[in-house]
Symmetry: D2
Subunit: 253 residues, 4 copies
Amino acid sequence: MICIDLNCDMGESFGIYRLGYDEEAMPFITSANVACGFHASDPMTMKKTVQLAKKYGVAIGAHPSYPDLIGFGRRIMDISVEEIKADMLYQIGALWSFCHSEGVRMQHVKVHGALYNVAAKDITVATAIAETIKSIDSGLFMVCLSNSAMVDAAKATGTKYVEEIFADRAYTSHGLLVARSQEGAVIHDPDKVAERALRMVRDKIIVAIDGTEFTVKAQTICVHCDTPGAVKMVRSIRQRLEQENISFQTFDR
Amino acid sequence: MICIDLNCDMGESFGIYRLGYDEEAMPFITSANVACGFHASDPMTMKKTVQLAKKYGVAIGAHPSYPDLIGFGRRIMDISVEEIKADMLYQIGALWSFCHSEGVRMQHVKVHGALYNVAAKDITVATAIAETIKSIDSGLFMVCLSNSAMVDAAKATGTKYVEEIFADRAYTSHGLLVARSQEGAVIHDPDKVAERALRMVRDKIIVAIDGTEFTVKAQTICVHCDTPGAVKMVRSIRQRLEQENISFQTFDR
Amino acid sequence: MICIDLNCDMGESFGIYRLGYDEEAMPFITSANVACGFHASDPMTMKKTVQLAKKYGVAIGAHPSYPDLIGFGRRIMDISVEEIKADMLYQIGALWSFCHSEGVRMQHVKVHGALYNVAAKDITVATAIAETIKSIDSGLFMVCLSNSAMVDAAKATGTKYVEEIFADRAYTSHGLLVARSQEGAVIHDPDKVAERALRMVRDKIIVAIDGTEFTVKAQTICVHCDTPGAVKMVRSIRQRLEQENISFQTFDR
Amino acid sequence: MICIDLNCDMGESFGIYRLGYDEEAMPFITSANVACGFHASDPMTMKKTVQLAKKYGVAIGAHPSYPDLIGFGRRIMDISVEEIKADMLYQIGALWSFCHSEGVRMQHVKVHGALYNVAAKDITVATAIAETIKSIDSGLFMVCLSNSAMVDAAKATGTKYVEEIFADRAYTSHGLLVARSQEGAVIHDPDKVAERALRMVRDKIIVAIDGTEFTVKAQTICVHCDTPGAVKMVRSIRQRLEQENISFQTFDR
């Protein structure tokens, strides 16, 4: 039987501000990437998010970012590799504390936003990320964009990792994500997205934006839960794949 | 033989800003209270401070605060007990990460500034602090102002603790610190301070500002290292007590 | 003819986070209290909010706060009067810049949240606020809780001011707001709220929570626009009062 | 008689942290670039800095930055031109408030750190800066690196400007600053620096690091005052040039 993990960014509220549909989406996912206060979240939000994940048996990962709350971590910052490492240690530790006090384990680390995009291409940054994760706990998984520099870095450093794919994003024929600024970069039709997910997971095939096909090996699909429509899409992906006897399980099983 | 611990606030620099004489003072103390980013410090500073403490075999503790960088954690904030707990978990976890990646253990937690002053009098806040510390690791010590509500809270919750005294601060006849705003609250003469420290540690006696004496039981003396003069004072306390065969050791021995 | 101003907190979004129904409510109010970055908002949000107010001819005021983004300025901070003054100058100036570059004038200043509550009772804080406002521009109005220390401070310092009332909040027989934690503190029925507003404005009478009546003199009603229901309430207040030939105009006319 | 302005970054302390020798240097300079809270400073520091400049008759300018307190504004951030404009308006307005309440005028704007370096090369960013300055007050000067894209932007937008030179920095033969990472980029000998300043101001000649000479037109020299040695250098530059009958005056005379 084929198994796949479904990961989603969670806990991105901040103070009085609500973001995302964590309560609605948590029952349908298997792994949660929990914001750590640098692009979103605050200590109370982190606590509630860890408790919510625990309630549904969802595996928890840290979701560290550049220090840029106003920009939601989406603006590239020219910060040194040493600073990236220290910023990551800080954020992962902060989340660890909430996991520990709730008696749950941290499963993985997935870097956020601009840092994710940089790490997908820049092997130096990707390596710094991999080393940091491994230095905290050799059992922690690094969530890597499939086929990217992150995978190379995880392999080279001996860091545990999984590769992830995006069901609702268009790919170039080189296996990279089409930039959001380009038309067609994001796919909105829930049925289409569910079919794409099915082909990716069952057949290990992605159809690129130019119609060419390439194979892909992934242990987790990333979904977004920041709109009511997105939550619906998560459910539709899950239903469609379960019809085909694909099982949803966290990758750390 | 009498043993005593010498604790000092460390790692209170921030970004480009330097504060304190960490390099100069570290060789003379036995426990370091390391700032965690809410009143001072940043990830790079935390990393360097943990490395410096490790180099000199100094025991490490977290030094969490209200979230108030501009006010250096010295302004009371009317935040809920739940928020205090979450803020503490966040900060302690962040420091834990640096300890863990350097292969050293965290020994204690000592809250900072206005939060310390509130916890000395408010049993609800003190209890929240004690519970949080115990929930992270039952081996962690809570550093408590001697004779204060913190001690009561630590006892009631079964949290490990030590009592601390201040050699360079005047005490009221009730065993509390004389407020800094009052004349004579801080003692500046290094010889006088060393003699006071000696009486506190060897004879377990504090002479209050009105001349009365009371007994005290403490496992650690707090010293400040934020001026060159302060570092000198640390050395003079240490010398004077070692002449009397008092040994300096961390309390977690 | 009776005239009244309708003021509302605006521009309280932050970065990616949306708060409030500014677009929907702006057409119905006459004065906007614009957040300045200390409890909410950021430079881009401030710019858009000033542009939106300008579009509907709504008068603009600064809405400064304690520096507490995580707590949305709702937590009392024990900061000095000198710090309050400097924090206010900073925030008012920041908003002035956006007004100036859009070619609109700043009409008033209304302090936010916990600072508002403190200033309502503490004449020292209220006086510091009044002095700061006057020092920037003697034409600026200070928005004061009716019957509070703010009014006394404005009078004593010769600062222009208006008194404000809350249509959806219960009052004590002493003319103060019933604390939100008490039952019945907030009135949710739009018709009741509209009737209360009418009595306050037309008859200058407030019925306290214990049934007693007292007179009130106000130039502005405060309404909230942070839920779709609240926006509806604003419209219903406006309609009800216009039926009675009460005219809505900014106080700086 | 030749006149020149001497500008220096001022008010870069933050909370409890002290940076720079403002008290010592202020008597020797003619223009102060005052930090606005995004890379350094806070409201109390801004107030004191404006008061100090006023005391010595030093002209005041805003010194806005990327929003990066931990990185002291020295890390390039990939933020949009619209965000740069809004961030600048916010910071300039904040400082304007302190100038206004002290009864002094703002003379100029000089962007800080990484934003300065980007604007020196990127005409789009430089133009956004020039437009923002002009939109606030057409009498405000933009301080531009001599021969850089900033000068082109000021000219094209009709923004008042001055060109600045650095007496203690080496130049390439193309008239740009040698990167700090290169050997010889910063000149430390006070006599050499004073002689360079003299040639720059009296003869309008800069000798590049490769020995070639080029002409330069500048209305202001930038000096640093962040170490006791730097303050000494300022005094030595001033003395040397005054011996040659060069007069120090702010450019807005």
